[in-house]
């Protein structure tokens, strides 16, 4: 499950973020405890804790003492914003570079994106 | 080892020894029953073919002495590593086996004492003579007092046999391959002193008399002093063997 080279706590954080983005974790909703995460993924609880600490620092989760961890109300907007900020540099640029190497022209890509927009709507 | 239940840290060293005696008695209960029954039944059966003139219990007592040494050595050899692995300190181990030896030795010694006295009554009722045999020569236990005196020897001898066995067991565990050699000097001292002790009563000694020719002229006081010294020195040797005994490495 954890094998793409990034530290496990980063992978867990990414997974929680993905769950928030795809709606399986609602804003204001309670997140499983670190111990539950640790037991589920069979990892050291300190590792799970590290993931949670990062997410609290980023403002994606917030902690209520004695109650647990919750998804921040604005978590989805925040994550979407982060994603937008990284989209062109992290996603599009490498894609275009690879397309160039394969001889796909920019206009081909734009045409394709236009047709997809129709489909996805 | 259910008798060890609810052990508390400061007192576990005192409970463990008597618990071992209890467990060992439970474990060997059929042997004990067989020894007691056979000691009474055998002379009865033999009496149909010939007159009974030797004490059966004196044989039982000597087998019991060797058995006591084997129990001590065997238990120590097999339990010391498991006890240490279960967090017993060496000092606690020494105290535990000391109390094990004392309770076991005294119990078995008392059993032999009772056996010899009861046998005196039994033989008397049957019209047989209770005597000790050594290479064809018979010494009669003329009274209850003499039977009791002979039985009392074992109350002293059993703890010494236990101590000897424990030393052999500890040395065998400690020095793999060579430690068992300590059995020779230990056996000479234990058997020799026991025989020397039995020389101080009219009915002794009953076997290996040649070992104690040297003790011919010793008074009872001197033998008892030597006996006590052997117990103290033996305990010191046992302590020394156990106090820093390592748990053996596992074979790869």
């Amino acid at each position: 499950m954890f094998d793409d080279g990034a530290p496990i706590y980063r992978q867990i954080a990414d997974q929680i973020k993905a769950e928030i983005m795809n709606g399986s974790l609602e804003p204001g909703g309670k997140v499983m405890s670190t111990n539950q995460y640790a037991a589920f993924y069979k990892i050291n609880p300190a590792t799970a804790q590290k993931a949670f600490r990062d997410l609290v620092e980023e403002g994606v989760l917030y902690k209520q003492r004695g109650v647990g961890m919750f998804v921040a109300e604005d978590a989805r907007e925040k994550l979407a914003g982060d994603f937008r900020a990284r989209f062109f540099d992290d996603v599009l640029q490498p894609l275009i570079r690879e397309a160039r190497q394969a001889g796909i022209s920019l206009t081909d890509i734009i045409d394709y994106l236009k047709t997809q927009e129709g489909v996805l709507k | 080892m259910s008798a060890t239940k609810t052990l508390q840290l400061p007192t576990r060293r005192y409970w463990l020894g008597p618990a071992l005696t209890w467990e060992a008695l439970k474990y060997y209960r059929y042997w004990f029953v067989a020894a007691i029954v056979l000691s009474a039944l055998l002379p009865f059966l033999v009496s149909f073919s010939r007159d009974i003139d030797t004490s059966t219990w004196s044989y039982t007592a000597n087998i019991g002495a060797i058995f006591t040494a084997i129990v001590a050595g065997g238990f120590l050899y097999s339990l010391a590593p498991s006890f240490i692995a279960n967090s017993l300190t060496r000092r606690e181990l020494v105290v535990s086996f000391g109390l094990f030896g004392l309770t076991w030795g005294l119990f078995c010694g008392a059993l032999v004492f009772a056996g010899l006295v009861a046998e005196h009554a039994y033989y008397g009722a049957m019209g047989w003579t209770q005597s000790i045999e050594y290479s064809g020569e018979l010494t009669v236990m003329a009274s209850f007092g003499q039977a009791a005196e002979h039985g009392a020897l074992y109350l002293l001898a059993y703890p010494l046999y236990f101590l000897g066995g424990a030393i052999i067991g500890a040395a065998t565990y400690r020095w793999e391959g060579t430690g068992w050699l300590i059995a020779f000097p230990v056996a000479v001292v234990v058997i020799g002193l026991t025989d020397a002790l039995s020389r101080t009563v009219p009915t002794g000694p009953d076997w290996l008399r040649f070992v104690t020719e040297y003790a011919q002229g010793w008074g009872r006081g001197a033998v008892l002093a030597a006996f006590a010294a052997a117990l103290v020195i033996g305990a010191a040797i046992g302590y020394r063997l156990l106090i820093d005994i390592p748990v053996r490495a596992k074979k790869a």
Partner: protein, 291 residues
Amino acid sequence: MSFSVSLRDVTLKYRDSEALSNVNLELEAGKIHGLLGRNGAGKTTLLSLLAAFRKPTAGTVLVNGGPIWENAEIVSRVALIREGGDFDDSDTVKSSIETGEIRPSFDRDYALKLADKFELPLNKKVRSLSRGKRSVLAAICGLAARAELAMFDEVHLGMDAPTRDAFYKELLADYMDREHTIVLSTHLIDEVANYLEEVVILDRGSVLRHEPVEAFQRMGATLTGPADAVDAVAVGLEVLAEQRLGGTKSATVTVLDAPTRERAAASGIEIGPVGLQDLFIHLTSPERDGA
């Protein structure tokens, strides 16, 4: 409460060889530590000292700040479970479990519950158990000791994969339930890597590395690509291992900083992670001088 461990200048000599030489090591309380090392590296010896199975030839072994040797107060809350356990083979499974009650903290009900869960035959003699079942019995006794420092030395040997998995799950559940220190010594590194917080690598009687597990995860990378490009990037890096296949070369390096990572990516080199196990293999390979 959970116990810390501290070894100061510890040396242990067997009759003909030195198993540990001048080891200094601090293990923090309340964590799961992994103890790795090749056969004969000194893992079992080290653990034997921590449980007072042996006395060091020189140096000090402290557990929870106090000397462990002949210290009933501390040693009664330390458990070392060795491969195959330390049992009287002629005992039954049940009475072997009950021997654990020498420890005041021993949880008999928990032990019997686990015995049931792992399908241990209580009335069988220990000597008639299969290797796997014997290991299970040892593991159960270790868990039920409820120790403040629990050490498991190759206890998984003979257990099949589902049993090992169930054991680690149980260990983790107990760890989250009750703060205590755990040391796992094993050769199945990848199987336990995710459970660990700290890793100690022993090599030839000395501590080779002692780091949080993430440090090891950040530590290694494999660079795979055209041989010239890989060589160019690898200049000045600590290379643990190299392999060639035709014109393609793969190099395992210890540290890869961000600029180097970018440079490598730009020259078409593929960067892969190195598992703890592979890293361990490289770090302890006999061709390396114990670095």
